[in-house]
Symmetry: C2
Subunit: 550 residues, 2 copies
């Protein structure tokens, strides 16, 4: 949730802006003259052959993924030294800390997005899913997916079993595949949303991991109010529709409930005054407290603010299922249930509760790609592998090697240089270990051996910056990565935030809110968004959030 | 396409802005204090009973539709005199002249939208489709449709036969209905897109009538380029994918092709330089010339600009069909064709052409509601009908009356006070005529008897302003509506426009472009959009249009 700037240094800003503006030609100058500048490093390539031709002896770095880790490392690699090629099913980077704001319209969706392809970057890009990794021949098989109906949405299982509308589209097609050779491979495939197998959650809950999720949530909130405002809707159904449940009390769930509170109190209360008696916001968590990463004082402060705002926090509560239709109707035929505009959440401690929307943010599961493609190594590469244990090299051919994983989560284990570790498959008794020197893993899908760094954007982008620097300088021998804890922040509604420094200091209330906004404004990537974000903050304060649904 | 301001008078602006800002409380003041101001006219109601209670002896004006005519008249009715109730399947007003700009990202989608419900309007709203009109008892039956999957999209036939994804969703549900009584009824249901029954167009073409259409187009353009940039795509398929066909050479088709040219030349050329050899833009029209509403000189100027920009204009061309899959493949099984990312357009003069996108803007057909609900009058009302022909009153009971329609188009005929005309059903020999004094029709679905005003936003909003003024003042006897031709404008790409005044004067080129932008900025409705539109114009000039797809 919290992350340091992926690339910005303040000293560069004015120049960057001037460059950007200077790069605009006057309209009367035809595009041809701009193109004829022909800066070769800005040339991108569309076939693997063209990539090969234009590599100019540079090493090719293939980056799987376009999240905090992948996007950051791709942009920071020195294009004179490396040919960066991103492969990702998602053609943009999502600035995740702002998604909650976009999901209620405090910010417009695009302010949280940066396309991977850009006029000012040197990154090559193929839209697709990495499929098979061949470590011996150093190539990855990519399934193209430009027309990717899962783009924009959190994934909560394999692509085939994710949300219904996606599922149907995906069954219909399987993309063509092609092979892409690498000199170095950087794995940043991230995580899916964890539903713990709770029945109905994959089908009916909304997530908040990507911009399509945010868009769905924004439309759903407004739809709930519009449906409740219909003359044909009963008061009982109004109560169901305007009962909003958030499952998971981490920063995402808490910030979303705060933003939801804000749009209702600041905007919807004026537009639907007659509906205010019906609405309710509840955060459920199985744990004993929410926001566990914050100090007790900050947590208590947050609880006080939430109580004042009327947001219910229900800890030690267990969500058991989610289904279509209102409560007390479980015997009705499924197609009749489907006609109701609400859902029923079953909570062990409370029974069946009618809800208009469930936002699910309980945690992460490792991308299934790690299990599928990063398992046994059929044939160990002849070079680029460093054996760490005596005798390993001798058993090179006879031993079945596999990518080391954290047993509980399945995260890929790396050394402190972010290089992927190998060990004997299955046989955890054997102590043989090796490192793939040209294969790196970082972001939420990876873990440095013997560390407990959290799976956050902050860790991901620090690792990415560190790795890009090492690759650019070629100084891996200088030491390993260590995380610098920059602290955590959370927006808690009504212009309040809580903030805890990496050193232990803390700020809360309005001052923390100012810091919260300042931090994300500073960290946002492009000039476009640095300009747009404060404008939207101002406009939505002055005129209210836009409530058009489309 | 061209329209005068629906409400703005320059003198009011600064006050309006100050009011808007002053209405923001400081964040520390809870919403309760804002609500407690309790301006009664800002109260909106959610049930018909509540509407009845709060009407305070005011006449209820029910407005069917939220387009140029309906939105304008609803906002301009005096809330002290009338209780305005809008019924529309679309919960916002779309500022149609800016849709072409939003479809390529020159502007963000929401800059072309104004929600019907607003903190500063007194308009009541129900999201639904008007279904049956009972003129005798002065009530309309409304089918609620808050969860309306057609919202945002052009309709090209009855709801059930419109675009595939919509069709499926609609089959699944039929909304509840309720009755709404009126004192005055204003019919502004507008038009659907006309496809002339051309096979495949409803299913595969894109339209440009609403913001959902614009969003689809934006995603499709970017998808075509991204797919063409895949390593697995052949050069032949690249040519298909980047062949963009626009059918219809009216202002919408022409402005869209100009905007498409701009995004390609100004942005995509830098992001996909290697694809520039493949792209092509063609405008097809059956007529002998495009932009028929402009003088010959302006038309020639536009053709010259288009030729220079490389946009092909093919007049006297007949589009015969559109199907999935590439050309020369018509015998392939349908499901195999579906796998191809392109379509085939059949043109009588050219044969089969592979295309990546077809934007269809050939014209309008009257909303089927006019045929379904505005036909025979089962029982003529006892009051509120003025008989125009001698003897009509006598045959009141015996004659089968019907709403008068233009035989060719089916448009509702009104007198010059915009009141709906009645005549004998079917029997066009009979000269009997009557007027419903409390039922008005305007916008694209209506026509004043013996006039040839075009079906444009300009005419619709002038009629709406005129009608609101008459209703507010109660001075229908002062004279009928006459259209004041304010001229026509069209953007033709590369910072050029053409503009023809109502009096006959004309401007072209850069100066017309400045006027074009100035006019639409002035005419945009809300302060939010007046601020955002120039900001997006600047940002997209400075940093390029955003190419994120979601």
């Amino acid at each position: 949730m919290q992350a340091s700037s992926p690339r910005m240094q303040l000293g560069q800003l004015p120049t960057g802006l001037l460059d950007a503006l200077a790069s605009r030609s006057l309209p009367s100058r035809p595009i041809a003259s701009r193109l004829s500048r022909g800066i070769p490093s800005q040339r991108r390539d569309i076939t693997v052959n063209q990539l090969d031709t234009s590599s100019d002896q540079r090493e090719r770095v293939v980056i799987l993924g376009s999240g905090w880790a992948g996007y950051t490392v791709a942009r920071q690699l020195n294009p004179k030294k490396y040919q960066a090629v991103v492969v990702s099913p998602r053609s943009y980077f999502a600035f995740t800390p702002l998604l909650a704001s976009t999901s209620v319209g405090t910010l417009e969706f695009r302010t949280a997005l940066e396309p991977v392809r850009s006029r000012r970057s040197n990154v090559n890009y193929f839209q697709g899913w990495a499929d098979v990794v061949d470590f011996k021949n150093k190539k990855v098989t990519v399934e193209e997916s430009a027309d990717n109906s899962t783009q924009g949405f959190a994934l909560s299982g394999s692509r085939a079993e994710t949300q219904p509308e996606v599922r149907k589209a995906e069954q219909a097609k399987k993309g063509k595949t092609f092979d892409l050779a690498w000199d170095k491979l950087i794995i940043t495939v991230g995580c899916y949303s964890q539903t713990f197998g709770t029945p109905g959650v994959k089908e009916h809950a909304l997530f908040l991991k990507d911009v399509g999720d945010a868009r769905k949530i924004r439309n759903r909130i407004l739809l709930c109010f519009e449906t409740a405002a219909l003359s044909t809707t009963t008061d009982a159904m109004r109560k169901n529709l305007l009962n909003f449940a958030i499952v998971g009390g981490g920063p995402t769930g808490i910030e979303f409930s705060a933003e939801l509170h804000d749009i209702i109190k600041e905007d919807l209360a004026r537009i639907y005054p007659e509906l205010m008696e019906f609405y309710k916001i509840t955060v459920y968590d199985v744990a004993e407290k929410v926001l566990p990463m914050f100090d007790e004082d900050l947590g208590k402060y947050a609880m006080k603010v939430f109580a004042r705002e009327g947001i219910a926090i229900k800890t030690s509560h267990h969500v058991e299922s989610l289904r279509k239709g209102p409560p007390g109707d479980s015997n009705t035929a499924k197609d009749v249930q489907d006609e109701y505009p609400c859902w029923t959440l079953r909570v062990r401690e409370e029974g069946d509760i009618g809800v208009g929307m469930v936002v699910w943010s309980t945690g992460l599961m490792i991308n299934p790609f790690a299990k599928k493609a990063l398992g046994k190594i059929p044939s160990i590469p002849e070079s680029g592998v460093k054996y760490l244990t005596p005798g390993s090299e001798l058993s090179r051919g006879s031993l079945q090697w596999a990518v080391s994983k954290e047993p509980k989560t399945g995260a890929v284990i790396t050394d402190d240089r972010l290089r992927v570790l190998l060990g004997p498959d299955g046989d955890h008794e054997s102590k043989q270990r090796a490192i793939m020197e040209d294969v790196f893993a970082l972001g939420d899908c990876a873990k440095i051996e013997n560390t407990t760094y959290p799976a956050t954007a902050q860790v991901a982008s620090q690792k990415a910056e560190w790795l890009a620097k090492r690759l650019n300088k070629g100084d891996f021998d200088k030491g390993g990565f260590t995380w610098k804890n920059m602290g955590v922040m959370a927006y808690i509604g009504n212009w309040n935030a809580i903030m805890q420094g990496g050193g232990g200091g803390s700020v809360s209330g309005r001052a923390a809110w100012v810091l919260w906004r300042g931090a994300y404004l500073t960290k946002s990537v492009s000039w476009r968004n640095k300009v747009l974000i404060p404008i939207y903050w101002f406009l939505n304060w002055a005129f209210g959030r836009d409530i058009s649904r489309f």
